[in-house]
């Protein structure tokens, strides 16, 4: 067991004016672990995700990431270019709406390939070959490589966004409700794909979701948020099968059994 966390979040808080969106949040994520953050809308889970992924500077606390060169580093103490480099090499960010994470006016292939070029890929043949390989991995027909993402279905766009994120082999993936905007049948396919990819690539991930079934399927650990605070955390099955906090008990008992 490696003993150093990949990500360490300590006392992170963020206010919008008078309102506290998230308050004193703390957890550690180890290599190969997937943590889900669940809670109702407005509970601060997306704010937390933005704060820990370098997209929004928190008002309080520290976010540290285990960089390849110099171990745990406060990401907000890094220079802008250094943080941007981390964001497009070691991290991936999957948006709820695929269009927010894709460039819709360039081809599917370019969406994947440009991430490779951003990290120094120059050989066109190799970039194209890697792009085709990744389209296959996310179950997209490589015949569609020159088509615009706007001609893809919602589920295909989401898979394309995932390929675009994973092609540079990030070590940490942030996901904001990755399956929420999809039909149930498409959701199952995407969940299965994410499960397989996170396992085979030993990816670590933080997934924000309001869907406890998604957390059960994908995440080793689960954090429950309410009104900006972490009210409960533990192994996913502990939190769902033996919820301790009143809010978690309410949440778990409110889920419809299919």
């Amino acid at each position: 067991m490696s003993t150093l966390p990949l990500l360490r979040v300590q006392g992170v808080g963020k206010r919008y004016g008078e309102r506290s969106a998230c308050h004193d949040t703390a957890f550690e994520l180890y290599p190969g672990e997937i943590i889900a953050v669940a809670g109702e809308s407005g509970s601060g889970k997306t704010t937390l995700l933005n704060c820990i992924s370098g997209r929004m500077r928190p008002d309080a606390g520290r976010v540290e990431f285990a960089t390849r060169e110099s171990g745990l580093q406060d990401i907000y103490a890094l220079s802008e270019p250094r943080l941007r480099l981390l964001a497009r090499t070691d991290w991936g960010y999957v948006h709820q709406n695929a269009r927010d994470g894709l460039r819709v006016n360039v081809s599917a292939g370019a969406n994947v390939g440009e991430r490779l070029m951003a990290v120094g890929g120059r050989h066109y043949g190799r970039i194209r070959a890697t792009t085709v390989e990744w389209m296959r991995k996310v179950e997209l027909d490589p015949e569609r490589i020159n088509d615009l993402p706007t001609t893809f279905s919602g589920g295909m766009q989401q898979r394309l966004q995932i390929a675009r994120n994973l092609v540079t082999h990030p070590r940490l993936l942030f996901m904001d409700e990755p399956t929420a905007s999809l039909d149930v049948s498409v959701q199952a396919r995407l969940l299965d794909l994410l499960r397989e990819l996170t396992r085979t690539l030993s990816l670590s991930a933080v997934i924000v979701t309001h869907d406890l079934a998604v957390a059960r399927l994908l995440a080793h650990r689960l954090i429950i948020m309410k009104q900006g605070c972490m009210v409960e955390a533990g192994l996913t099955d502990q939190v769902l099968d033996d919820p301790q906090h009143p809010y978690t008990q309410l949440l778990v008992s409110s889920v419809l059994q299919a």
């Binding site: 067991m1 180890y30 080793h220 192994l235 033996d242 309410l250």
Partner: protein, 233 residues
């Protein structure tokens, strides 16, 4: 026989916040030791806390008091106080758990569900698949089902997929929550045989079996539980 599990002073109370904070004390001061090559069967009436104890051993339920020491990587680890990371490692390496129900994963074929614990432990795909095929064959799952996701299988078939998955990897400790509940006599006997084999090979087993025949066949010791209210009366 080497001690593998040492439970002492175990207390578990459920607090139901949305039922006026009702408190249900299910376990109080439970003590239990289990050694390698032993099969301890938890026995008692419904509501006596058998499942709660078993789930607490796996750290699926969190306990308020007491110790659950488990022999893990040549050390004793207290499951009641271990970090999530340590618990995940225990579940990967030391402790297997077979419940009554298969938690179906959409789209994943039966064969892959069974071989997954092996692949997760680093066993080569071909070898993991071979072991999965052996188990599915032994548990009489028709070959034509192996490549299908079990969502549409019968209850008994799903349960046998679950058992095959649970036995795919050999664990030093195995917890069994009524694995034979929905099986016919023939398959019950196969599962009993697999439990006996695991025990003979050194696995420490704790289980719940409602079926008298299976219980008498596999148990090397019975651990009796009584409902807590009666215990204090």
């Amino acid at each position: 026989m080497e001690p593998m599990i040492r439970v002492s002073g175990l207390t578990k109370t459920f607090v139901l916040h949305h039922q006026h904070g009702a408190k249900l004390r299910v376990l109080a001061g439970v003590a239990l030791c289990v050694g390698s090559s032993e099969c301890v069967v938890l026995h008692g009436p419904s509501g006596s806390g058998k499942s709660t104890l078993l789930r607490s051993l796996y750290a699926n339920y969190r306990v308020q008091q007491g110790q659950i020491l488990v022999r893990h990587r040549d050390n004793w680890l207290d499951m009641a106080r271990a970090t999530p990371r340590e618990l995940l490692d225990v579940r990967r390496v030391t402790m297997g758990y077979i419940s009554q129900f298969l938690r179906v994963i959409p789209r994943v074929p039966a064969l892959d569900i069974v071989s997954e614990p092996l692949r997760a432990a680093g066993v080569a795909d071909a070898l993991a698949e071979k072991r999965a095929q052996e188990l599915l064959g032994r548990l009489n799952i028709p070959k034509k089902l192996w490549s299908l996701p079990p969502a549409t299988f019968s209850g008994g078939e799903q349960q046998r997929i679950n058992i095959a998955r649970g036995f795919a990897k050999t664990f030093p400790i195995l917890l069994l929550d009524e694995p034979t509940a929905a099986l016919d006599a023939g398959n019950r006997s196969v599962v009993a045989e697999m439990i006996e084999e695991a025990r003979t090979a050194g696995t420490a087993i704790v289980g719940i079996f409602h079926d008298d025949e299976v219980r008498n066949r596999v148990a090397s010791r019975i651990y009796a539980l009584n409902p807590y209210e009666e215990a204090i009366a």
